[in-house]
């Protein structure tokens, strides 16, 4: 009896949280996305919102673009983070190891807004980098370095770096050094060791990092809008416009579900490809 009461007491907050703030709101979002306004305060079930998405090139173009850019940003982040994770996990020892690790963390104690402000001051036409390029004599006059796709990628990679570095380090640290030594003694080249020993071993960490980075990138709003300006065309921006600016909740809800579907699909594919379980990956990050 007492155990039963205890269970109820512990279950209550979890259920309130998950049902009240996660499950029911998403059901509501689902209902919204599957209806259409026919007259003031009169709605009927319909697929009109999704039809608009398919028929309006701007929308699905933005959607595909967001997905592709997120994949590119994830790949760049992985390529940039891997050598640093390797350096921290395998090359340096003791104090300098701890120091490098902390140095990777520091920028992420500061809010994304502050980091984006830094990039804006660096890259805008009147900013530091264009002035520097003029001073070097590379360009005759300051060039606008904001509002390009490359700028958005730089910002996204920057914001995501930590979430890639940490799972990579923990995956690489568990790799036994003697395995690499043995492979080396047996005549393995750097490349074949990387491909046949290191990457298979680090795969869980790589997948965990990629999933988290991809999701954060896909759902990012601040970096694309500020660094990309009017050219950013990010899908979260469409959701914001529909929901908040135009007050077209039905359309916004449909877009929300499309984004959620895309992110779930990619996470699922990532897990399938690497043969891992969602719970385990989340524990790692």
């Amino acid at each position: 009896m007492q155990a039963r009461l205890m269970l109820m007491l512990l279950l209550a907050p979890a259920l309130l949280w998950l049902v009240g703030l996660i499950v029911l709101p998403h059901v509501e979002l689902g209902i919204l996305s599957l209806r259409e306004r026919v007259a003031p305060r009169v709605y009927q079930p319909s697929l009109a919102q999704f039809r608009t998405f398919v028929e309006e090139p701007l929308y699905w173009h933005t959607f595909m673009r967001t997905a592709l850019m997120s994949i590119v940003a994830t790949a760049i982040t992985l390529l940039m983070a891997f050598p640093m994770a390797w350096t921290i996990a395998k090359l340096v020892r003791g104090k300098s190891k701890a120091m490098l690790f902390i140095m990777c963390l520091i920028p992420f104690w500061v809010s994304e807004t502050v980091r984006t402000l830094g990039w804006m001051i660096l890259l805008r036409e009147s900013g530091v980098m264009p002035a520097f390029l003029v001073w070097l004599g590379v360009t005759p006059a300051p060039v606008e370095m904001l509002y390009h796709d490359a700028t958005i990628l730089v910002g996204l990679v920057y914001t995501s770096m930590l979430f890639m570095v940490i799972p990579l380090i923990s995956a690489l640290e568990s790799l036994d050094d003697t395995l690499i030594e043995a492979a080396y003694d047996l005549g393995g080249s750097g490349w074949s060791i990387l491909r046949q020993i290191v990457i298979p071993h680090a795969a869980p960490g790589i997948v965990a990092g990629c999933i988290v980075v991809f999701m954060l990138t896909l759902g990012n709003y601040l970096t694309p809008t500020l660094l990309g300006g009017k050219n950013s065309q990010w899908f979260t921006e469409q959701i914001y416009t529909q929901f908040i600016t135009r007050f077209n909740w039905e359309q916004g809800a449909a877009f929300g579900f499309l984004l959620l579907g895309l992110s779930t699909a990619i996470v699922w594919i990532g897990l399938k490809l690497s043969g891992q379980k969602f719970g385990e990956v989340m524990q790692k990050t």
């Binding site: 104690w109 807004t113 989340m282």
Partner: protein, 288 residues
């Protein structure tokens, strides 16, 4: 290659060059923000025109209103602190309850429930925001239609911001606290029961002190994540803007170095918080 193997010179050199470039990439934006908080110019842009503290101390009447005279900005900092305080409190409480639920009880569907607890981490923040916004306003409309009640807290505003941020930060607190409770040696509790301690006494003197590092750690993470949150907050915000939303608004308009000043303050504050955090768990880890 690893440290114990010989590495050719070019490889060592390129490791160093890469390392320097990597950290330059990480730190350049922050350094730039900090430096231009002190530039004697109306906009945070080069060239350097000399050192000034105007962007901190400038009075409200002058053309250069400094951070400490900018009541809107200071107000938004306070708003963020209040929101983060509530989110932290709720997340740690619910996270602790969840940890006990996962580690100490058995019931059907536990596996599914603990998986569902991780779901908020893979839902984009924007979607958490709009779904909670839509659901809250459905309830508010229902209450209005049926009972004629005006439930103000379910309209966009700070209570919804708190709930929105809590909805995913609770997952992080749950993960952190559960991980620590998992490693707890239950025989310690059994010994205490054998010695005649009550349930409450055991919880208070044995289990909670053991969990303390995780509780403090998750509180710090929750506070920081709430303070920095933008995506979910933007969707749920009413008339009182927390700091990130306020800064975003000003960044779009092309703001004065006051933004740099407040950013520098944030950097110092979060560095201080993080550094104290790093000391605390080490001291507390030696506990039972």
């Amino acid at each position: 290659m690893i440290a114990s193997l010989p590495r050719p010179l070019w490889l060592r050199a390129s490791t160093v060059i890469y390392g320097v470039a990597f950290f330059a990439f990480l730190f350049l934006p922050l350094v730039i923000v900090a430096v231009f908080a002190f530039n004697d110019a109306p906009y945070p842009a080069p060239p350097w025109r000399g050192f000034t503290l105007d962007w901190f101390l400038g009075s409200a009447e002058s053309t250069r209103r400094g951070l400490f005279a900018d009541s809107a900005m200071l107000g938004s900092v306070w708003t963020s602190v209040v929101v983060a305080g509530w989110v932290t409190l709720l997340s740690v409480l619910v996270g602790t309850a969840n940890a006990f639920l996962i580690e100490r009880t058995q019931f059907r569907g536990k596996q599914a429930l603990s998986l569902l607890m991780l779901a908020p981490l893979v839902i984009p923040g924007v979607i958490l925001g709009i779904s909670i916004l839509a659901f809250a306003s459905r309830i508010a409309n229902l209450a209005d239609d049926v009972w004629g009640l005006e439930l103000e807290f379910l309209r966009p505003g700070l209570p919804l911001v708190v709930l929105g941020q809590f909805s995913y930060i609770a997952s992080i607190a749950t993960l952190t606290i559960t991980a620590r409770l998992k490693r707890f040696d239950v025989t310690l509790e059994e010994a205490a029961y054998n010695l005649g301690a009550s349930r409450l006494a055991v919880l208070w003197t044995i289990t909670l002190p053991y969990l303390k590092p995780a509780l403090i750690g998750s509180a710090a993470i929750s506070f920081l994540m709430s303070f920095e949150n933008f995506n979910t907050t933007l969707m749920l915000v009413g008339s009182d803007a927390p700091l990130t939303v306020m800064m975003y608004g000003r960044m779009r308009e092309g703001a004065t170095p006051v933004l740099n000043a407040v950013s520098l303050l944030l950097m110092v504050a979060s560095a201080a918080l993080a550094l104290t955090m790093m000391r605390v768990p080490k001291a507390a880890d030696t506990y039972p």
